[in-house]
Structures are given as structure tokens and as C-alpha cells.
């Protein structure tokens, strides 16, 4: 059979019109069935849904669990005190991103469009959080980071910016670590040992920005990959260059290979690290002795004297999860950040008295003072600053066996 030209045109036109009609119906249906978050109708007493997109399974599963615990303890407290927005309880809806950006993006869209969450908490992985940003902004739903530290998550190009964070920010951490290397370790020359990925690059920029401000000379920048088993040649170059302190940015497994390579060189040099090495089995991989030699950054420690809030949270964690003590708390940084972030979220919901994204976003700039676990938050967010924590809120810690303990200085 041969189509005449007019038939082909007609066929295309019909198909187009059918498609347009279908699309129109779909849009109308989606409006009718409420595929967008809505605040219409009587919702008093209904739970306010909040989402968590984090690694619940996989190599970073401990991080997801620790965040979940921090959020849940805070939610129990908030709901016991009457909930938010005049009596609505908070309900947490959790999705597993498996440390995969694509899965994080899909989960974000599903949580907002189907579950109608008012805001989303993020997990450990910066690449996942960065990938979630376009969806967050397209659907105008606030994002609250509680672990992922990439500078670009909160300092992004979106206007208005829906990404907030109660966690470290690479650039601020780099300032903190550089200052520590100069002031506490007495270094004048530093060597950078960075994982060969965007996270390493993000921190390279930060170190290059801050080192000159503290009068530090970067004698070399060495990059290595996840699977590298021996980087002693690269470290040897830093040793020859006269590095007095090494600044490390890597997760637990490659960080451990770096420590083993130092052992090969028999080079006893101070190592100051970003918190990547706290997210896995660093002492098991590097060895107990080597792991003690690294000083790294955290936002909170449940060891030592606790504030009243610290004692309350520790007791709640122990009771809810049958923990013997602070040594049983998985990845304390995730739990502490998540606890404070959830409380700030509750205050924002109260301030906004709405689950509409734009209203809730504005409310973050007008929060009342909150006496939190990590610190007392006085206007934690401003239009120019979406990071609630700064270098004054970081602490330095070391591995002691399987525990992360604050260093004495």
C-alpha cells in the first residue's frame, strides 16, 4: 500500500492532535487528583510528611541509619510536644538512594509528587545531593542537607535557592583544616592528598583558596583513585618537597591505602583529614595504630561532658535503639546533624504555618533562636548563607579503636 502525501500529512496531524488532547487530559487529571502538593482543605491533625533520601543499603548504609536515628529521635520529641503547625504530627517517609544519583533523583520526584512531602532531607553522598538539586528547585520544595558537604549544594546557581544545610561545607572545612595545620601543627608547607573525583576537586579549590591566607605553601597536590593499592611514590614527592603536614580528602578505603603507603615510606608526618574516613571501617582497613595518627573533622561528639540537650538526646538514643553508650552510636555526625536539622525544620514549619515550598523556604530566614545539640542557632540561615554550621562549630577527632573521640587540644 502506498500513502498519498496528503494521507501522510493527515496521519501526522491526527497523531499530533491526539497527543495534545492526551497531554491536556493528563495535566487536567493531575490537577484534579492532586499530583502537586496542596494545602487546600482542612488538614488540621493530618501528619506533615517529610522525606529522607539517603543511602539505606550499600557501602554507606551506616550513614543512612545514623541520619534516620537522629531524625526519628527529634520527631518523637516534636510529636510528643504537640507536633507542628498547631498540632500536626510529623511523619518521615524514607527512600533509599543506594549512593546512586539517578536513584536519588527518582526518589526525590516520587516523594514530592506522590507522597507530597513538604521538604526533603539528604544523605551522605554529595553527588546524589547535587543531582537532586534540579528536581528540588523545579518542584519548589526545600532540601535540608545533613551530611553531604560539597560546597555547590548550598552555594548553587538556583534563584531562589531551596537548598539548606546543617552539616559541613567543603570550603569552610578547608578553611578549618588549613588553619589547624598552621596553628596547631605548626606547618608552613603542606601537601594535599586528594581522591581523584569531584569531591577531591571541590576541596582542592578550597585548600588553594585558604592556604595562602594562612601563609601556607602547598608543596604538591597528589591525586589517587579508589582502587590504588600503593601511592608511596606520590607521597614520596610530597616528602621530597618538604611537606610538614598532609591534608587528606578521601573515603575510608582509599584513605587507609594512603596510611599504608606512609608506612611503606616510614614517614611519620601529621595527617589532617576531611571526614570521609569516618564513613567506613577505617581502623580495620588502615590498622588500629595507623588510624590513630589521623586527626579529622566532625560536627559533634557524644563522648565527654554533654550539654543538657546532649544528655537528653543521648538518653533518647540509648532507650530507642538499645545502645549501651556513646560508643554504640553509629556515625555520630549524621545523627547529631539530623537531630538539629529536624528541629530547625519543625521551627520553619511553625513559622511558615504552611507546607507550601516557597512559604516554607522564606520561613528558614526568620527562625526563632533554637538551643540545639551542636550549638545555639541564632538566625542560622540568611539569603546569603544557607549553611547553619561554620568553622566555629567543627571539632577535631581521632579514631580510638572503633570509636571516634575528640582530641584533647
Amino acid at each position: 500500500m502506498v500513502f498519498e502525501h496528503s494521507q501522510i500529512t493527515l496521519f501526522h496531524r491526527r497523531t499530533f492532535l491526539r497527543g495534545m488532547a492526551g497531554l491536556g487530559s493528563a495535566i487536567a487529571l493531575s490537577k484534579l487528583t492532586g499530583c502537586q502538593p496542596t494545602t487546600t482543605g482542612d488538614t488540621s491533625g493530618d501528619p506533615v510528611k517529610l522525606g529522607l533520601v539517603a543511602a539505606i543499603t550499600g557501602s554507606s548504609a551506616l550513614s543512612g541509619e545514623s541520619i534516620k536515628r537522629g531524625l526519628e529521635v527529634a520527631i518523637d520529641e516534636i510529636n510528643a510536644n504537640g507536633g507542628v503547625m498547631g498540632g500536626r504530627p510529623i511523619e518521615l517517609v524514607i527512600r533509599d538512594d543506594e549512593s546512586t544519583p539517578a536513584k536519588g533523583v527518582a526518589a526525590t520526584r516520587e516523594l514530592i509528587e506522590r507522597e507530597q512531602v513538604a521538604a526533603i532531607f539528604g544523605g551522605l553522598d554529595s553527588p546524589v545531593s547535587l543531582a537532586m538539586l534540579p528536581v528540588i528547585h523545579e518542584l519548589e520544595t526545600p532540601y535540608m542537607g545533613v551530611w553531604a558537604a560539597a560546597t555547590g549544594i548550598t552555594r548553587n546557581d538556583f534563584d531562589p535557592n531551596y537548598a539548606f544545610r546543617v552539616s559541613a561545607n567543603d570550603n569552610i572545612v578547608d578553611n578549618f583544616l588549613t588553619r589547624y595545620a598552621q596553628q596547631e601543627k605548626g606547618a608552613s608547607k603542606i601537601g594535599l592528598v586528594l581522591i581523584n573525583n569531584p569531591w577531591g576537586e571541590s576541596n582542592q579549590k578550597g585548600f588553594e583558596e585558604w592556604a595562602p591566607k594562612y601563609g601556607l605553601e602547598i608543596v604538591g597536590i597528589e591525586k589517587f583513585n579508589d582502587g590504588d593499592t600503593d601511592i608511596s611514590a606520590q607521597l614520596g614527592r610530597l616528602q621530597s618537597g618538604g611537606a610538614e603536614t598532609l591534608l587528606l580528602v578521601a573515603n575510608a578505603a582509599p584513605g587507609a591505602q594512603m596510611m599504608k603507603s606512609l608506612d611503606r615510606l616510614n614517614w611519620d608526618v601529621p595527617v589532617v583529614s576531611h571526614w570521609g574516613i569516618s564513613g567506613g571501617r577505617f581502623p580495620e582497613l588502615a590498622g588500629a595504630e595507623a588510624s590513630k595518627k589521623v586527626t579529622f573533622v566532625q560536627t559533634y561528639s557524644f563522648f565527654g561532658e554533654q550539654s543538657p540537650v546532649g544528655e537528653k538526646v543521648l538518653a533518647a538514643l540509648q532507650e530507642k535503639y538499645q545502645l549501651a553508650g556513646p560508643e554504640d552510636i553509629l556515625a555520630p555526625v549524621g545523627t547529631a546533624n539530623a537531630y538539629d536539622a529536624m528541629n530547625l525544620m519543625a521551627l520553619a514549619l511553625d513559622t511558615a504555618d504552611s507546607v507550601e515550598g516557597p512559604t516554607l523556604r522564606e520561613a528558614f530566614y526568620n527562625l526563632p533562636t533554637y538551643d540545639g545539640l551542636i550549638k545555639t542557632y541564632e538566625q542560622p540561615f540568611t539569603p546569603d548563607n544557607h549553611d547553619a554550621l561554620n568553622e566555629d562549630d567543627y571539632i577535631l577527632v581521632q579514631w580510638d579503636g572503633d570509636q571516634i573521640v575528640p582530641i584533647s587540644s
Binding site: 608511596s232 606520590q234 608506612d263 611503606r264
Partner: protein, 289 residues
Amino acid sequence: MWPQLILSGMAIGSMYGLVALGFQMTYAVSNTMNFSQGAVVMVGAVLCYCLNITWGLSAIAAVPITLILCAALGLLIERWIVRPFARNGSQSWLLSTIALGIIAENLVMLTFGKEVRGYPSPLAETPVSILNFGVYPLELVIPVVGLSTALALRLLFTRTLWGKAFQAASENPDTARLLGVPVTWLIALSFSLSTALAGLAGMLIAPIANVSATMGTLLGVKAFATAMIGGLSNPWGVMLAGVLYGVVESVAAGTLGGSYREIVGFIVVIVVLSVRPNGLFGRSQVKKV
């Protein structure tokens, strides 16, 4: 710096060589390959870790049990993943073995977990100093094991009746069958030996490279590359190519930086194969008709 780079490169290169020997062996006998060799490396390391560390079996027992299990896995691969396709003259064994590797990796993620685990070994605890550079004793043991295995295989293939049977099965399976050579059985045996070698490599490298579900992926690709540049007709050449490749990688990473490890390594592969299509030590096959 150089002795350190060379010794370190030889250790990792011997791993490539051992796994590549598996490619060479099955290709020599059956003209097929098991592209899940990298996954079998991982399976060897994970099995040994579970037997030795998780279930507390002594290393003396865990190592042979792992080797036997890996060898058995090879038999299963040949029977169910390769033979049904190869028998019909299809090349689909290529895809089916790759698929098996992916399945194995995901199964291990589900059961063993995705976390990277450290494998404690007295041979990888304290470095010994050689020419003022520290190397782990295991890094000296690995090349010795690798080169000895290659030598043993060469002797097996060239000096024994078994070797002649292997060659006969490879060159003309139909005639070999008529002369009483158990060709089907020999092919299964070659797969079994190849997976046992991959398992051995996994166990050897685990204390240095740690144990994880994804540890074999890149290693399998590099082993295939070294099998190609070594020349698929020569086990000794394959092993030597593995060691050389490891040294090239190590020197590239050490002198130019970690980012250049794979770039330089695979450029070398392309250059070698473009100059010598049959590999550094291989000979072009001439089929007399």
C-alpha cells in the same frame, strides 16, 4: 623511588598475569573465554574471607577449600554458561559470561554487602625495607607465585602427555576425539583451572587491595588486556605481559600521578596491539588446509 614502583608494579601485574592465564588457557583449548574471570577473582577473595575471617576456619583449610570451590565454579560455568552456546557455533558465550560476572557481583553485594572489608594477613602488616623502600612481604610472594604458576603451566603444556592432549583438543577436536582424547572433559578442566587461578589471585591480592564486591571488575578488564598483549598462544608470555603491564601502570602513577595510571596503561595496550596484533610473545596461527 624506582625500585618501589617496580616491585609494587610487579605484584599487581602478577595478579593481572594470573587472571590472564585463565583467559589464555580456555582460549587455547576451546577457543572460548570466560569473561567473568574478574568476578571469580572477587568470589575467591570473598569466599576465603568468609571461611577464614567470618567463620574462623584456619587459613590452611580456607585456601584449598576456596580453590576447590572456584574450580567447581569453573566446571559449572563451562557446562551451563559456555557449552550450550559454543556447541552450536554461537558466540553468545561472550555475553553470557559477562552477564554471569554482573550477576555474581550483585549477588555478593546482596549477601556479603557493599562495604569494603580489610583482610588481615601477617604478610601485609609490616613493610620490609628493600633498597630503602618499604614493601610488604606479600608483594614479594605474589610475583614468585605468579611466575611459578606460569612456568608450571608451560611445562604442563609442552612436556607432558596432558599438554599434548590439550594441544590436540585445541587444534583439531574432531580428530582428537577419534584418537580417544576426552576433548569435552579437557575443555571443562581448562575452565576449572582458569577459575582456580582467578580464585588464587583473589586470595593473594585481598590483604593488599581489601575485599569488596567490585574488586574484580577492573582487574578482569586489565587481565584480558594483558592476555591480548602477551599473546594468547603463550602462557609464559601472558604472565610476563601481566607483570610488564603492572610495572608500566605503577611507574605512570608514580611519576605522572594517579590520574595517569589507566590512561598510560591502556594507551600502551593499543600501541602494542597495533604494532604486534598477535601480542608481544604470541605467534600468528596458521591453519593448514
